[in-house]
Amino acid sequence: MSGKLYLKNQMLVILVNLTGMLALALFLLASGNQFQTVMLIFIVWLIIITTYLSVVYYVRKRYLNRLLDMAEQLEERYLIPEIMTIPEKADEQVFYQIMKMAEKSMLEKIGAIQNERKEYKEYIEQWIHEVKTPITAMKLLCENNRSPFTREILAELENINHYTEQALYYARSEHAEKDYSVRETDLCDVVHSAIADNKYLLRQSNMTITIDDIENRVYTDDKWVRFILNQIIGNAIKYRTEQPVLYFSTIKTNDRVVLSISDNGIGIPQSDLPRIFEKGFTGRNGRTGKNSTGMGLYLCKRLCDKLGIGLTALSENKGTTIALSFQMNDFVIRVQG
C-alpha cells in the first residue's frame, strides 16, 4: 500500500477536519477566547488526527501485506478467497463477494476445460487403438502375399505405426498419471523387438546391424523403452548415408547400465546438439528436406525423465550416438546379487 495514495484517499477526512478547525477557531475567537487557548485546541486536534491516520495506515498496511504474501505463495492464486479471513468492512465485503464470484467462474471454466481435454485425450487414444486394427489387417494381408510391392507397403506401414505411437505417447505424456509399470526387463529382448518393428524399413535402407553382447537386465518399462528405441532407429534410417550401419552395445558399471545406439548417418551439427530434445526443434537436418516434426526426441526425453533414464546424444561431424543410461539402485543390485 502506497502512503501517498493513502493520504490522497484520506483527503476528504483531512478537509472535513480542517474546515471544522476553521469554523471552531472563528467561533472561539468571536466569543472572546484568547489566541493561545485556540492554538492549544488546534495542536491537540492535529495530534489526534495524525495519530489516528498513521495508526490506521500501519494496521491496514500490515493486513494488506499479509494478504499479498499469501496470494504470492499460493500456487493457484484464484483460490485466495478460500484461505483469507472474511473482511469486516462493508465495502471490503463487497470486494470479497466479487472475488468469490470470480473464483467460482474460474473453477467452472477450469473444470470444463479439464473435462474437454480428458475427453479429447480419450478420443485420441481410442482412435489410435481403432486405427491399429486396419493396420494389423494390412500387415497380415501383406505378409500372406509377399512380393516386392507388399514389402514396400510393409515398410510404409511401419512408418504409419511410428506416427500413431508418437501420437499415443504424446497424449499420454501430457498427463501426470503414471501409465507405466517398472519391472525386470531384458535389454536384449527390447532391442530385438524394436528392430523387428522396423524390419522392412531397415531392410529397405540396407542397414547393417551389429549387436554387441547386450545380455543385461534392467528395471524399467519395456513398452516405453521399445518406443524410445523405435524413435532412435527411425532417426537412424531417416538420416542415413551410403552403406548405413547401426550398432548396439552396452556398458555396465557399478550403479548403471548404459545402452548405446550408434549410427554413421549425417550426424547433428554441434550448434544444434543442445536443443535436439526441445519440443518442435527441427534444426539444420530438419530444414534440409527431411520432414522432421521435432516430436520424436522430445517425447523420448520426456519419457526418459519420467522413467529416470539418462538420455544423451553425441555427434561429431558424422554419425550419432544416443546413450540410454539405466540407473541400478542399491536395492536392485542387492536383489540381483
Binding site: 486394427t133 493396420i135 494389423t136 497380415l140 505378409e143 500372406n144 501409465d179 524390419k199 531397415l202 547393417t208
Partner: protein, 237 residues
C-alpha cells in the same frame, strides 16, 4: 522318390498338427491370421458365432487360444476366466490397447501372453511356439529329412549317410528354411526375412557367403549340388 518328413508334434507315431483357435471379431484379421498360421503348420479354427464361444472352445479342443479383448457382446477377460474353469490351455491375449491395466488383467485372469496390435508376425509365431513347447513338452522332437539328408535343428547338425557336419547359427537357419520349403523355390528376400525374424541380421551379400560355406560343408560329407541356385529367383533343395 522325393520325400519330406518334418517330424513335429509326433504323438504315438501319429502325426498331429497343433490346433489353434482364433477368437477375433475383425473378419479380415481373422481370415488373414488363419491363412498365416495355417501356412506355418498349424490347424486353425476361427470363431464366427460370438454368442457361443465357450461351447465352440469345448467342441474344438484347441492346443492354444488367440483371444482378442474387445469382442461383440462380451470381452476376452470373461472368456478367459470361463475357459480357465475347465482347461489349462495356453491363452494369448491380442489387443490394440496397450495399457498396463489390460496387461495386468490378462495376467491375473490366467492369460499366458499379451501381444499388442499391430503385432509382429515373427514375434507372434515365436510366442506361440514357446507356449506350446512349455505346455506340451513331450511333443518337441524335431528333425527334418529330405532325400536322405537329415537336419537336426536342436543340435545344429546335418547328417547324410552316417556322415555329419556341424553348422553355424546362420547356416542352420538358412538350411532349416530351405528344408521347410523343400521342393519350392525360396527367394533370397524371403530367406533374409526369415533370418531377421530369428534375430540374425544378415544382408544379401552375407547370405551368398553363408550359402557358399554350406555348400563346402555339404561337399565334405559327400553331398554335391544339394542346394540349387535358380537364376534371379533364389535357392531350392
Amino acid at each position: 522318390m522325393r520325400s519330406l518328413r518334418c517330424e513335429e508334434g509326433y504323438q504315438g507315431g501319429v502325426f498331429i498338427k497343433e490346433k489353434i483357435l482364433i477368437v477375433e471379431d475383425d473378419f479380415t484379421i481373422q481370415a488373414q491370421l488363419k491363412t498365416f498360421l495355417s501356412g506355418n503348420g498349424y490347424e486353425v479354427f476361427a470363431i464366427t458365432d460370438f454368442s457361443q464361444i465357450i461351447q465352440q472352445v469345448k467342441m474344438f479342443v484347441p492346443h492354444l487360444v488367440i483371444l482378442d479383448i474387445k469382442l461383440p457382446g462380451s470381452n476376452g477377460f470373461e472368456i478367459c476366466s470361463e475357459i480357465r474353469t475347465f482347461s489349462d490351455i495356453p491363452i494369448v491375449f491380442v489387443t490394440s490397447s496397450n495399457t498396463d491395466m489390460d496387461e495386468l488383467n490378462s495376467i491375473m485372469l490366467g492369460g499366458d501372453a499379451f501381444i499388442t496390435k499391430p503385432y509382429n508376425t515373427a514375434i507372434l509365431l515365436a510366442k506361440i511356439a514357446a507356449l506350446l513347447k512349455r505346455a506340451y513338452p513331450s511333443r518337441q522332437v524335431e528333425s527334418c529329412t529330405w532325400n536322405g539328408v537329415t537336419l537336426h535343428p536342436a543340435s545344429g547338425v546335418i547328417e547324410y549317410r552316417e556322415q555329419k557336419a556341424e553348422l553355424t547359427k546362420n547356416e542352420m537357419k538358412i538350411l532349416y528354411y530351405l528344408f521347410k520349403n523343400a521342393g519350392k523355390i525360396c527367394s533370397r528376400n524371403d530367406i533374409v526375412d526369415f533370418l531377421w525374424d530369428n534375430q540374425l541380421y544378415v544382408d544379401d551379400n552375407a547370405l551368398s557367403v553363408n550359402v557358399t560355406r554350406i555348400r563346402d560343408k555339404l561337399n565334405k560329407i559327400g553331398l554335391t549340388d544339394f542346394i540349387k541356385t535358380k537364376h534371379r529367383q533364389g535357392y531350392t533343395l
